[in-house]
């Protein structure tokens, strides 16, 4: 696999980091060393335009999204029977086929579907499903078999694989909007950064009169040092990543001029930041955002429709923004949840943890239409839907056809590729 991207982004990243650090009066020696390491033919080529680099945006729906009330099998009597209180009525469904349609609050996604920019993936799951949030989320994030434990995340392993042999790859290869790191990003090389807002994403000196000197000392104390033991070594790598990436992101944020309309919600704000960073040319290949609150054990009608509204409006605004930027064809959004919910509603007006669920892809490159076959509502496993698409086949397809990676090297074995993306 080619690592042009690493060399290229690392070079540009470090160059920008150095320039910015120099402007603020600090040139840490570690950076200087890393920059010298770049003195090779590949790195000395003129910076390549980024416009051909494809980007993956992962949307995590945390808590277990009720796939059956997202992509509704309104044409199945078994659905109405299983959901006497919770069923979305056939008249309200935004119809996609005679069998399924979208939740009425997903009109913005229906419009994307009609434009061929949204592909729901029905019946996504894995063998021997686990009904614990944490274990099942871990399975999705590490792409492990349900009886095996993987240390690193599937995206993290992609980072490691992609940048193997590089002395100082760009830590912003993966960027999480938020204040925690997703397990998907777990990797051996300490790659990946997280931030909530660019303004808070920098270190502010406390010494106004000797700001440059203090900054220089700060830099020296916040980078890998000899003899550090865990967890100090981890903290030092994190500190270095924070310092380098904040210089680049602060610079980029200062240049953001935007007028793109987004709805007023957390998810919309997060996706807006992603769109801004993409527009600014940040080197990230993978962005990760989360919408939580899907664990609807009780009174689901209070919460789930609002989540549908928030998700639909935010994703549609994001897609519109990317289209205006002319970046839609190089951005792919992948949405997943740790499981779907039980077919039969419970007595509390909610639904319990289930198994197979719904994924969806959005962007300019998706193959229009429904992917996969809707799972049967009567042929169940412990009351839950059986999966038809192994989610790792979706990952494999995205890795190979979108990110240009070797899925076997990342996922550990072959998974059949799916016909999800336009050639």
């Amino acid at each position: 696999m080619s690592c042009d991207h690493c060399v290229h982004t690392r070079r540009e990243f470090l160059t920008r980091g150095l320039t910015l650090a120099a402007a603020s009066g600090t040139v840490p020696s570690f950076l200087t060393r890393a920059a010298f390491a770049l003195d090779d033919p590949a790195a000395n080529e003129a910076p390549r335009a980024r416009a051909d680099e494809r980007i993956l945006v992962v949307l995590q729906l945390a808590g277990g999204n009720d796939g059956l009330n997202t992509l509704v099998p309104y044409g199945d009597d078994a659905y109405q029977r299983a959901r006497p209180k919770l069923a979305v009525q056939a008249n309200d469904v935004l119809r996609i086929s005679d069998y399924v349609g979208l939740h009425p609050n997903l009109a913005p996604l229906k419009a994307l579907y009609d434009q061929g920019r949204l592909a729901p993936l029905q019946g996504a799951g894995y063998p021997n499903p686990n009904r614990s949030h944490f274990r099942s989320m871990e399975i999705w994030e590490t792409a492990a078999d349900s009886d095996r434990y993987e240390h690193y995340g599937w995206i993290g392993r992609y980072f490691d694989n992609h940048c193997a042999g590089q002395p100082a790859p760009d830590p912003t290869l993966g960027l999480r909007v938020g204040r925690s790191m997703p397990q998907s990003f777990g990797n051996a090389g300490s790659l990946g950064v997280s931030l909530q807002t660019p303004e808070q994403y920098r270190w502010y000196p406390s010494d106004r009169r000797h700001a440059a000197a203090q900054q220089q000392a700060f830099a020296a104390l916040n980078q890998p040092a000899d003899g550090a033991w865990p967890p100090l070594d981890f903290l030092q790598r994190t500190a270095l990543n924070a310092r380098l990436s904040s210089a680049v992101i602060t610079d980029l944020a200062a240049k953001i001029h935007d007028a793109a309309p987004y709805p007023n919600s957390r998810l919309a704000a997060d996706l807006k930041l992603v769109a801004q960073l993409i527009a600014g040319g940040l080197g990230s290949r993978v962005y990760y955002v989360t919408l939580g609150g899907f664990d609807t054990h009780a009174n689901q009608l209070n919460d789930h429709p609002n989540l549908m509204t928030e998700m639909g409006a935010a994703v549609a605004a994001f897609v519109a923004d990317l289209e205006r930027q002319k970046n839609l064809d190089r951005v792919l959004l992948l949405a997943f949840s740790e499981f779907g919910r039980r077919v039969q509603e419970n007595y509390s007006g909610g639904t319990d943890h289930g198994a197979a669920g719904l994924m969806f892809l959005a962007g300019g490159a998706v193959k229009p239409g429904l992917a996969g076959k809707h799972p049967s509502l009567t042929d169940l496993e412990r009351g839950d839907l059986k999966f038809g698409i192994d989610f790792r086949s979706v990952y494999a397809t995205v890795l190979k056809q979108w990110l240009g990676a070797d899925p076997k090297a990342v996922l550990g074995r072959e998974f059949p590729l799916l016909d999800l993306l336009r050639a």
């Binding site: 945390a62 808590g63 009904r131 614990s132 949030h133 944490f134 274990r135 830590p171 999480r176 938020g178 204040r179 925690s180 790191m181 950064v193 997280s194 931030l195 909530q196 808070q200 994403y201 920098r202 270190w203 502010y204 406390s206 010494d207 009169r209 000797h210 000197a213 203090q214 220089q216 000392a217 700060f218 020296a220 104390l221 916040n222 040092a225 000899d226 003899g227 550090a228 033991w229 865990p230 967890p231 100090l232 981890f234 903290l235 030092q236 994190t238 500190a239 990543n241 924070a242 990436s245 904040s246 054990h297 009780a298 419970n346 007595y347 509390s348 909610g350 319990d352 943890h353 412990r382």
Partner: protein, 481 residues
């Protein structure tokens, strides 16, 4: 007791300021130099007793901000839809305000208490038997649950398991108040096994379903008005499924009390709890060589009827607790960072400071009464990423420069009187000793010293302390204890 060795100071591993501070940080929230000196004088045995054998808690009146005498009229008794809507909005506003105050109330307790171990334990149990205000909403129930943790913090695990299963906030949080005969809601049963007692892999899906049946009818009776008032545990016999159930190898007409009893018969419960206590008090990671020690703790814990106090005594007197490889190896939680910093500087928690800190804890990933999910805070490396690290650094800057002075009129030169500032090296080394559990490398010290020399040349003592402390707290070394 078999397999348990008590740590004894030696010439190479003495009971000194370093180990005394280690104990004070772990069994509390750290403290001033004088407090460290006091523990050194006591010796390890008395120091442990001093911290963990605090007098039993006494009943406290409901804090004023939770006395909802001024509660608006019950929305359910509104004359029409518009009035109901208006009353409901007022309720929500009141609850949010009170919940925010509740967060500050706890933080203030941690900052000012003379029994820090009590708060440290309450925080452990809150992270273990999680509840999110985001779902429960009623701050009085959250307060009551929080006090329940203090009442049983060092008692018997069985009592705590039973009481938490009957706790209104928990019943709401995991939907057991809606768990009724014929329609079991398995949310509580699953988390009770997975996260509160046995750990994943020690039960089956069938065990979860059957256990959910045992808890049917365990519900709440709400006071009025429902959303701001109190609620009591209620056993609703009509909604209880008294049919035969089989779980964890037992069969019978089992109820919730039986579940607790049966859980305590499982060896994995003691093991699970000991591991969790280890990760909270001893080290972020459990290494293979620690398994033997942990197995001994679990055996003793189970043998003595799951009493917590003796287990905690063992923990804080154990060889691994004072082992070199467990000193300065834990990443501080946001609460430990904030409370530890402010206790060390003896900062008075003014209301505005508490408000700032409540929001900051959330940003750093430890929103009190609102853990991220039912698994609580995982801790360790999960506290730390590029975003939270920068936030920690900047928060201390705010506290030292604008914040603390403005909020409490703090002068660092008063609080750090013991630190000599005659020259740059003495200043740096004195403050590093005071603040950092892990030392700077020679090269790091040299670079820092170059800066402190610049500062020393033209700054007053206050400025010198403030900027040097901020630099030293903006380091990986300050994030560990």
């Amino acid at each position: 007791m078999s397999g348990i060795r008590t740590w004894k100071p030696t010439r190479t591993e003495p009971w000194d300021r370093r180990r005394a501070r280690h104990l004070l940080e772990r069994a509390g929230f750290g403290g001033t130099s004088a407090e460290v000196d006091r523990l050194v004088k006591m010796g390890p045995k008395d120091a442990v007793a001093h911290l963990i054998a605090y007098p039993p808690p006494v009943a406290e009146p409901l804090p004023e901000f939770l006395q909802m005498d001024t509660a608006p009229p019950d929305p359910r008794e509104a004359k029409d839809g518009a009035e109901r809507e208006q009353r409901f909005r007022e309720f929500v506003r009141m609850q949010r305000r009170a919940t925010f105050e509740l967060k500050g109330w706890w933080l203030k307790r941690m900052l000012t208490t003379e029994r820090p171990f009590e708060e440290k334990l309450a925080l452990f149990w809150h992270g273990h038997f999680t509840t999110e205000s985001d779902k429960v909403k009623n701050p009085i129930l959250l307060y009551n649950q929080n006090q329940l943790f203090r009442t049983h913090a060092r008692g018997r695990l069985g009592d705590l398991l039973l009481e938490i299963s009957r706790d209104p906030a928990m019943l709401i949080y995991l939907d057991n108040h809606l768990n009724v005969r014929g329609h079991p809601n398995e949310n509580y049963a699953r988390e009770l096994f997975e996260l509160f007692s046995l750990g994943i892999g020690h039960y089956t899906e069938q065990d979860v379903l059957e256990t959910a049946r045992a808890f049917t009818g365990w519900t709440i009776q709400r006071g009025r008005p429902a959303r701001v008032g109190t609620a009591q545990f209620m056993f609703n016999e009509r909604q209880h499924d008294d049919g035969e159930k089989t779980f964890l190898g037992r069969t019978g007409s089992l109820g919730g009390e039986d579940v607790v009893r049966i859980i305590l018969d499982q060896p994995s419960t003691a093991d699970f709890l000991c591991r969790k206590l280890w990760r909270y008090f001893v080290a972020d990671e459990i290494n293979p060589e620690d398994n033997e020690e942990l197995a001994s703790w679990a055996t003793i814990f189970r043998a003595n009827g799951y009493q917590l106090q003796p287990l905690l005594e063992i923990l804080f007197s154990s060889v691994p607790f004072y082992d070199e490889r467990n000193l300065a190896r834990r990443i501080k939680s946001p609460v430990e960072l904030v409370v530890g910093t402010l206790r060390r500087l003896q900062v008075e928690p003014a209301d505005r400071l508490l408000q700032l800190l409540t929001g900051s804890l959330k940003a750093m990933g430890q929103d009190l009464f609102d853990p991220p999910n039912v698994a609580g805070w995982h801790g360790g490396a999960e506290w730390m990423n590029t975003s939270t690290l920068l936030f920690r650094y900047n928060l201390i800057n705010v506290l030292l420069s604008g914040g603390v002075k403005r909020f409490a009129g703090l002068k660092l030169s008063d609080r750090l009187q013991g630190v000599a500032t005659g020259d740059a090296a003495a200043t740096l080394d004195g403050l590093a000793e005071e603040f950092l559990a892990a030392p700077l490398t020679t090269q790091q010290r040299e670079t820092a010293l170059a800066y402190v020399r610049t500062l020393h040349a033209d700054s007053d003592r206050e400025e010198l302390l403030r900027c040097t402390v901020h630099l030293l707290t903006s380091t990986p070394q300050y994030q560990v204890c």
